[in-house]
């Protein structure tokens, strides 16, 4: 049984339908990447899994248990933590407080604590008392990842980690992922950067207009097939 499954997942913003039956699986220990253009439904998919958007209960299964209808705090307490798009640090909290709040709903013992997160991102330790939003974009992204890891999640959802960051910083951020994988977390990454996604993921899903248009192992997918699935036209 897969750790996380979606079955015919649909999602709506009022009358506007954003997802049209998305099927996706995540095995324990696996890293998958979801790529697609703006408006493809990637962020909606993440918001659905994390409980920010509510869906039909059976449309999302975690360990075989229906969680589609749960709200965000319930999903989080089960062990699915999200690094939201745009980082969304709390401006009135210091770096350290931003990290500590990550375990508010799930103070679970595990590999991740303030100490191990400072070891993963040493620059954060030097700046632990500054307000989170005073950091550079890349450092803020590190705080957002650390904040999600503090709950020792079983699944880490990362929405658009590279958004607005310089390529060299993006490389730094992704350098942390082998350690996160080694800690046992399964990871779902949403990316616009196909090259980065293919490097880090075991499997890739390509989305367009609220549907999965292509999936498979990066080595088995040709650039042309991805291009077609991404833009809907043949290159």
């Amino acid at each position: 049984m897969a750790l996380l499954e979606t079955h015919g997942l649909t999602a709506f913003y009022r009358d506007f339908q954003a997802l049209f039956g998305v099927d996706l699986t995540l095995e324990a220990g696996e890293t998958i990447a979801i790529v697609g253009a703006n408006g493809a439904g990637k962020s909606t998919l993440m918001r659905s899994i994390s409980g920010v958007l509510r869906n039909g209960a059976d449309q999302i299964l975690f360990d075989g248990r229906p969680i589609g209808a749960l709200d965000a705090p319930d999903v989080m307490s089960l062990g699915i933590a999200m690094v939201p798009e745009g980082r969304r640090l709390f401006p009135s909290l210091s770096v350290e407080e931003n990290l500590l709040i990550g375990r508010y709903g799930r103070a679970m013992k595990g590999p991740w604590s303030l100490e191990t997160i400072y070891r993963l991102f040493p620059v954060l330790k030097e700046r632990c008392h500054t307000p989170g939003t005073a950091l550079s974009g890349g450092q803020q992204q590190m705080v957002a990842i650390g904040r999600a890891l503090m709950s020792n999640p079983r699944i880490l959802l990362c929405d658009e980690l590279s958004l607005g960051l310089a390529p060299i910083i993006i490389k730094d951020i992704y350098a942390a992922f082998p350690a996160i994988r080694a800690s046992g977390a399964s990871i779902v990454i949403v990316e616009q950067d196909i090259g980065q996604a293919m490097k880090v993921a075991d499997r890739l899903y390509c989305m367009m207009e609220g549907r999965v248009t292509l999936s498979g192992r990066p080595a088995e997918l040709s650039r042309e097939a991805i291009h077609a699935a991404y833009f809907g036209v043949h290159a």
Binding site: S50, G51, V52, D71, A72, P73, M76, S77, A81, M82, P84, R88, F90, P91, S92, L93, E97, L100, I101, G102, Y104, G105, R106, R147, S151
Partner: protein, 287 residues
């Protein structure tokens, strides 16, 4: 020494206004909710303490210890079942609902306790005073001020040193993202209003032992509380104390010049402070 004495009395009165204002400031800071019934809730708590004192024969300071958890419960229920439903992008519903609540509380108290003015008896404490240097200072005003300082110290410790305080601030920043951390904004708000109402009980015991009260005096206490919060700067609890002191001193000095000027002098001080510092003494909130 009479002017110095007047100013000292005013400073101590500022402690009472800071107590009125601390709960208002906390609730506004966390959920941007302006509770127009805050003053009437102070009066409600004063009647609650009066009942405990006159009905059970308790000392007022013992009664307030019982009233605090009861008022916490009132705040928790009020937020959970009424005020949470009014929160949203529109700021009008909470104003209308708390305004209505204010009318309901005033008339309910009028029905239950009549329009007679009442006072919480505090025995010999009412008139006790100690000599500090050249001043004779009342024990109750000093206790009031000391309570205000203690309340603000504790509130600051809770806000900046505990997990609950982090949850308050995170929810205030961004409720959706707070949900991703496992925080339920509505429950956090209920606890915040509960704490505000426990502080209201402390304010009420000093209101009710210091002077007479009746069911209609709530709105004026609300205005004093607002003025203290705004003069101090939104989001700063020490600023709220400073605002309360300015208000207290202005009223006492104004009253010493001419008793008719007491209330007016407070409002004039408020306007002057806003002219000089439109965002108050210690503005913290960025918005």
């Amino acid at each position: 020494m009479s002017w110095a004495d007047t100013i000292l009395q005013g400073v101590l009165l500022g402690g009472l206004y800071a107590l009125f204002a601390a709960g208002l400031s906390l609730v506004f800071g966390i959920m941007r909710l302006v509770n127009l019934a805050h003053g009437d809730l102070i009066v409600l708590a004063a009647y609650l303490i009066l009942v405990l004192v006159s009905g059970l024969g308790l000392h007022p300071f013992l009664a307030v210890l019982i009233a605090m958890p009861l008022m916490f419960g009132v705040g928790w229920l009020l937020q959970s079942y009424v005020l949470n439903r009014t929160l949203g992008p529109d700021i009008l519903p909470p104003l209308l609902v708390t305004f209505g609540l204010s009318v309901v509380l005033q008339n309910g108290l009028l029905q239950a306790y009549s329009a007679d003015s009442r006072r919480i008896p505090a025995g010999s404490l009412e008139t006790a005073s100690v000599a500090i240097g050249p001043f004779n200072v009342g024990v109750m005003p000093m206790l009031t001020f000391a309570s205000a300082v203690a309340v603000i110290l504790i509130l600051n410790r809770v806000l900046y040193g505990t997990e609950l305080g982090r949850a308050f601030r995170a929810t205030s920043d961004d409720a959706t993202t707070a949900g991703l951390m496992g925080i339920r904004p509505n429950r956090t708000f209920a606890v915040a209003t509960g704490i505000a109402m426990a502080i209201v009980a402390i304010a009420a015991v000093f209101l009710g032992t210091r002077a007479n009260f009746d069911p209609t005096i709530g709105p004026a206490r609300l205005i004093y509380a607002f003025e203290a919060v705004i003069m101090g700067g939104l989001g700063s609890l020490w600023g709220t104390l400073a605002g309360g002191v300015v208000l207290g001193v202005a009223q006492t000095v104004g009253g010493a010049i001419n008793p008719e000027w007491q209330i007016l002098a407070g409002h004039i001080a408020f306007v002057l402070v806003l002219l000089a510092r439109p965002r108050g003494f210690f503005p913290r909130a960025v918005d």
